[in-house]
């Protein structure tokens, strides 16, 4: 029995969505019957990879350009540097949530815990074992994935509101754990005064760290966008729409959801590692439930049709809440009301409407060219 009734219908992906239902049988069969190595009657993997990710490549180029613009805007200004890192951290948390939320229709709210795992792992490995910070970057995603799998298995029978509630309670319990555990997690004080990230004696400057953070976000967003359009992505999106059909074709839907939750948690932990490496400290208040609520709004603001929507949403929300002096402390209020308005009147989000405008311009130019050609003939 699944608590919460039928699996949740998704937030509409709007623009950029592949014809999910059409590819259902092929994608489901591909993973279920042959372990993801292709299936008779469907295009070969090579063929699919050649044609499907065009949009991911185009989005990646535009996203990279956006990252360069953000870096130029930041320059060497210290405040803007911190905004940039915060925006990158938000982006990673939002992309982490995007994988289970938008792709599989599973909304987990435990991302403050996953980000904390990222931050605490690098701090604990440094403080307790004397390992350099960068080692924690590689260990944390696996710890977060294990935690997500355990939580996912325990809650595999629940969805929707029930999953939201239990994952929120988990996030609170995790926060209590790090606050009360002075031996391992440093208690309420946490770990102040962590050193600068160093690779074999070389330490990046603040500007270089910002460039690396933007590059990390671009790579993760690009990979998740590719993942969305890969056979696995089509499978899980199909599963979200018609879970019984996918289950009937031999795919364990509940396990696929657990996999998506684990992938999301890994990305969420990177956000924590990034932020803690930047501010050189972590404590129980570094990653609160507010982070989760803000992050869940980012794909809605930016647009759920592509993982880049999370990045755009993160940029808008960071600007509104921290850098837009006209609204003072009311930035969060504006964000939450803005999310309601977007859900009601503009569900495609910013990236979705940019794509609509791009298509309209392309169509108009093509029509004008056709008219001119006809006139010449």
């Amino acid at each position: 029995m699944t608590v919460g009734g039928a699996p949740s219908a998704p937030i509409s992906e709007g623009t950029g969505a592949q014809p999910v239902a059409a590819g259902a049988a092929g994608a489901a069969g591909a993973t279920g019957a042959t372990g993801g190595k292709g299936v008779a009657g469907s295009p070969s993997s090579r063929h699919r990879w050649r044609y499907l990710p065009h949009q991911a490549n185009a989005s990646g180029i535009v996203g990279l350009a956006g990252g360069v613009v953000a870096l130029l805007w930041t320059g060497s200004d210290g405040y803007r540097q911190s905004l940039l890192i915060l925006g990158c951290m938000y982006s990673l948390v939002a992309i982490g949530m995007y994988v289970p939320f938008v792709l599989t229709g599973t909304l987990s709210m435990a991302y403050s815990a996953y980000a904390a795992i990222g931050g605490y792992t690098i701090a604990i490995l440094f403080e307790k074992a004397g390992w350099p910070l960068w080692v924690g970057w590689f260990v944390a995603p696996f710890i977060a994935a294990v935690v997500a799998v355990v939580l996912g298995v325990v809650t595999r029978r629940v969805s929707g509101f029930y999953l939201v509630a239990v994952t929120l309670l988990f996030a609170e319990a995790f926060s209590t754990f790090v606050q009360s555990n002075t031996t391992l997690a440093g208690g309420a004080r946490g770990f102040p005064g962590l050193p600068t990230l160093t690779f074999f004696g070389w330490s990046p400057t603040v500007v270089q760290f910002g460039i690396a953070a933007v590059a990390l976000v671009c790579v993760v967003a690009y990979l998740v966008d590719r993942l969305r359009q890969s056979p696995w992505g089509i499978l899980v999106r199909t599963m979200r729409e018609v879970p019984h059909a996918v289950e009937a074709s031999g795919v364990r839907v509940s396990w696929m959801r657990v996999v998506a939750l684990a992938v999301g948690a890994m990305i969420g932990s990177l956000a924590g590692s990034l932020f803690v490496s930047s501010v050189h400290a972590v404590n129980p208040l570094t990653f609160t439930l507010n982070l989760v609520f803000i992050a869940v709004f980012m794909p809605v603001v930016g647009g759920v049709g592509t993982a880049w929507g999370c990045v755009v949403g993160a940029a808008v929300i960071t600007e509104l809440t921290l850098n837009f002096s006209a609204v003072g402390q009311g930035g969060l209020l504006i964000v939450s009301i803005g999310v309601l308005v977007i859900l009601l009147v503009a569900p495609r989000g910013i990236v979705g409407y940019i794509d609509v405008a791009r298509k309209w311009v392309t169509r108009t130019v093509q029509q004008l060219a056709t008219k001119r050609t006809t006139r010449h003939d």
Partner: protein, 293 residues
Amino acid sequence: MGNPQLWISVFIDGAFYGMIALAYYVTLIGSQFFNFAIGPYAMATGLGAAWLVVDKGWSLWSAVLVVLVGIVVLGAITELAVVRPVQQRATGGELPALVAVAALLFAIQQLAGEIFGFTPLPGQLIFPTSTFTLSSATVQASVVPLLVVAAAAFLLVGGWIRLTATGRTLRAVGDSNSAARLLGFPVNRIRLIAFMIGALIAGLAGLFFAPSSGNGVNFMSGLNWALEGFLALVIGGTGAVWAPLVGGFVLAAAGIFVPYYFGGNSVSYVLLGLAVVFFAFRPEGVFARRVRT
């Protein structure tokens, strides 16, 4: 377990969680929707009344009237302007409405902070009794009114659902929304009534619990109250009107006795443990509706 003062605390928290769960229950029966904004409704009335009386110098009764009317209007706005349009656009899927109600929860909390201030305010005593001693336990002035209001809320909602035409229609809509629509019941009107009554119950809960809330009411209280009420409903189940009250008392007993014996931090683990146990083994709650087949 033999300390009477702890049992008084169980009754206070149990009555409050039970009322929040009852607000969920009424909304759920009428609309098949968990309105997570119910926690912030309770926060808004408790904090709003305190702000009007303490900061603005209003009389208690005018403040109570204003916040209760305001919260019922907010309940109606939640259904008419947020949940219904988003659900219609998403053709019945629950995730968009869930995100919308999360945004609403966040918006109410931030708006309360902007208007009423970001510092906690003491709850206002309504119908206070004199403080008295009961079996070596001190019963504060705010306890009896809270218990009386909780009992009255459950009795009235139970009577309304069983004895009135609107209440029976609410149950019909809850049993099968589409069948009720086919039979010509005013489903949309019933949903609206469910949201408004749910908001009123949550508002009363916040108003009467605020004086018992240890550090006063602050704008962030709503999320925790929403989660605790939700958990009380999950524990109690939806099989009977009084099931949320049982869930509320079970949750309150766990929340009071476990920290007393195992330390203050254990309460988060107990809440998570209760949620996982009930979701995994008894997702329909203690009291499930039995249907003859």
